[in-house]
Structures are given as C-alpha cells and as structure tokens.
Amino acid sequence: MNTLSNPDRRGRRHGGSGLLVTLSVVVAFFIDLAPLPASLDLIRPDLTLLVLLFWSTRTYSPANVGTSWFAGLFKDIAMLTPLGLHAGVYCLGSWGGLMLRRRLEQLPLATEMVLVFVLLVLTFALQWSVGHLIDDRPLVEAELLSPLLGTLLWPLVRVLLAPLEQRLLPSSASD
C-alpha cells in the first residue's frame, strides 16, 4: 500500500518495519471481512480503523493519512460501500490521530481511551451521515455500540501491536 510505495522518511529510516505495519493493517482488514451473524455484524467494531488509529498516534510509525485513505478505499471495494466513504472516514480518523500524537503518548490509558472513543464516535457519525445522505440509510440502535466496543478493544490493540512498535524505535533499529 501507500506505506510501501511512498514511505515517509521515518519508515525509510527503519527499513522493513513499514512492512510489519502494513501487515498489521492487512490482518485487521481481513478480520473485518470475516463473516459474522447479522446481529453481531451490526455491533462489530472497525478493527482496521483501530489499527490505523494506533499507528497514526505513534511517533515513529511510517503509517500516515495516505495509508489510511488507501485502506479505506479497499474496504469500500470489499464491503460494497460507496467508493470513497471509508477512504474519507479513515483519512479523517488518521489525521485526528496524528493531531493527538504528542498528547496521547503522555496521557494515561484511561484518558487515551476517552480520546479514542471520541474519535471513533466522530468517524462513526461521519460514516453514518454520508451513508444516510447517499442512500437514506437508517440508524440501527445496536450500531451505536460499535464505537464503544472499539474503545474497549483499544487496550488489546495496544498490547498486540506494542511489539511491532518497539521495532520502529530508533534505538532498536540501530541495534
């Protein structure tokens, strides 16, 4: 994806670590594609967005807004949503993460989760609003649980991706 074809200078500095970041996004993307019963599908948190948020809030991550945009575009294709819907939402979410990057790294986990929740609610609201404007999509109450479940998954995402993050640090890269 964009990370590989157009790596930023941090990604280039840490060699093949960008591949691991891309791989984590791809795995999250595949998990999102996995079929679930309709009732569970409504409340399924957007794991791809969570992973993209994680990487956009990490200082030494090569992931950027472009990565998120392309990931969103692939999601639009795979999930048959209007082209550009997920691309725009992921792009905006990733930008939000970048803006919070410095602050998040100094905040405790609970506060970080609150900020992640706000970001997820905003992206959900944007996604639903655009969908509603395009094809008059109704709001199902159960869908509102999705940002909450995503927030609850945030610590798990952090734990799972922390080893990859360690490999992006300059000290470990120079070893």
């Binding site: 795979a78 550009g84 691309a87």
Partner: protein, 295 residues
C-alpha cells in the same frame, strides 16, 4: 537567515503536511462518493477491483464458513440421533400396541369360541379368566377370577372350546381354585369316542399328563383314541373332549393296561375359560358328536 535554496530543499524533504494530505484525501473521497454509481468508469473500476479481492474474501471467509458448516453438521447429527431415539421409542410403543392388538384379537377369538359353546343342558355358565398358575411344580392347579360371590362353588367344571380343563375345588369371595385334569388324583369319568368304552382318567401330577385307570389288559383302546366326558359324575357335561390316548402298554403280569393320555384343552396358552354345571337330568349321550365337532 537561511538561504532560499536550502529552504526549498527542506520543504521538499518534509513533503506535504498531514493536514494538507487529509484535505486532499477528503476531497478525492468526496469526489468518488459523488461519482460512484453515476459514471460507467467507476462501476467498471469497482467491478475489476472487486474481482481481484474476491479470492481473498473467499479465503478469509473459509475458516468461518468451515466452522459454521461443522457446527451445522454436528447440530444436524445431534438432531438426527435425537430423532432416531424418538423413532425407536415410537417403534417400540407401536410394536407393544400391535402386540396388544394381537392379544386382544386372540382373546376375542377365544371369547367367541366360548360364546359358541353349546348351552343346552348347562345350568350355570360364566366366563372366567386365569389369574395365576400354581407355583408348585407338581401342582396342576389354577386360580381364576371368580368366586362364591359370582355364584361359583366347589365341584363345578371348567371347560374351554377345545375340551374339559378341570374342576373347581375351592372358592373364595372373588376367586376360585381349579384342579386340572392332570392334577394328581383328579379323576374324571370318560368314555372312548370310538367305542363308548367307559374308563376313569386320573391325573399324573405332571403338565399335560394323565392316564386311564382300571382298564382291562385286553380292552379295546389304542393310541389316538379320543376320550369324551361320560357325564356320569354329574360334574362335566357329557360328550366334551377330555384327552387323547398317547400310548398303550399291555403287561401280561398285570390285569390292567397302562394307558398314557394327553388332555385336549390347551391350558398352557389359554387365559379364558367357562365354568359350567350340567343341569339335571344329564342330556343324552348323543350330544358327544356335537362337542367332538368343535374346532
């Protein structure tokens, strides 16, 4: 102050800012959303990209679908096993019902035969049912489900369509004890159907075993002879089948022949009988043939 050339190089190295990237991305996304479905090329592009992603989607869905199918298979198997259990239970129930119907039909047939017994010359006639057989191996006795309150008393005869069964020897209020023809010491006056030769049939105390006593060594009796009630004792109606001669032993040292017989009534398989009492005077001997013609 930094030279202009250096500033340009620095700006080039930093690239576009995240905010600018976001704005560009959002603009392109909005354009795509607006164009999606309205232009042929977006449809074509989406279809091509979708075709490329389809194998990956199928691959991703494979574990979930396999799990779902395995779960369905297990559920189906459990359902089938449960269904088999239900059907087996239902089958057992139906077999029992069918057996009961067979028994009822047999019982009905026996009752019809009992109903068809000749009534002439009988003062008391009551259908009874076997309650219990004698527990003692040597005892050839029955307990029936009618007693003194139903009009039974000792000395009455118990008969079946295929012949004489025995004699009531004791009664309670609602039950009575019957000694079969084969009960030890049970004596029944009979006559041979073929030649009207009279004799006494005595029980041997063994199932379906009796013998003719006090029959002369040279008496005209042979295996296969049918024995009928003579009616002389006033207990049994005359002319009813009693037994069949099995063997005849003639010992020159003895005055009497040893004649082994088998009672005609199938007491081991039958449950329904009739208690009868011949009315006085006893009917003529000519009725023997009528009884012997019963199936």
């Amino acid at each position: 102050m930094q030279p202009v050339a250096d500033r340009d190089v620095e700006l080039f190295r930093r690239g576009i800012s995240p905010t600018s990237k976001c704005l560009i991305g959002l603009s392109v996304a909005c354009a795509l959303v607006a164009l999606d479905g309205r232009r042929q090329w977006t449809e074509t592009a989406r279809a091509e990209l979708q075709r490329g992603l389809a194998p990956i989607q199928q691959l991703v869905a494979l574990p979930w679908r396999s799990g779902e199918q395995s779960l369905q298979y297990l559920t189906l198997q459990q359902d089938l096993l449960r269904r088999v259990d239900q059907l087996e239970a239902e089958n057992d129930r139906l077999r029992i019902e069918a057996r009961n119907i067979d028994l009822l039909q047999q019982e009905n047939s026996v009752l019809r035969q009992l109903q068809d017994l000749p009534t002439e010359g009988l003062a008391l006639r009551r259908a009874v049912q076997l309650v219990q057989r004698g527990r003692d191996g040597a005892s050839q006795r029955f307990l029936i489900n009618a007693g003194s309150l139903e009009g039974l008393r000792p000395g009455l005869a118990l008969v079946a369509p295929d012949g004489v069964v025995g004699q009531v020897i004791a009664v309670d209020a609602h039950s009575a004890q019957v000694a079969l023809l084969s009960d030890q010491g049970q004596a029944t006056p009979v006559q041979i159907a073929r030649n009207s030769l009279r004799a006494v049939l005595v029980g041997e105390g063994l199932p379906n075993r009796a013998s003719l006593r006090f029959l002369a060594n040279n008496a005209d009796v042979k295996p296969g002879d049918q024995l009928l009630t003579s009616g002389l004792d006033g207990v049994y109606p005359p002319g009813m089948p009693v037994a069949t001669v099995l063997t005849v032993e003639r010992d020159s040292q003895s005055d009497f022949a040893i004649v082994a017989c088998r009672p005609s009534a199938a007491t081991e398989t039958r449950r329904h009988f009739v208690v009868v009492e011949p009315s006085a005077p006893a009917p003529p001997m000519g009725r023997h043939r009528e009884y012997s013609e019963q199936p």
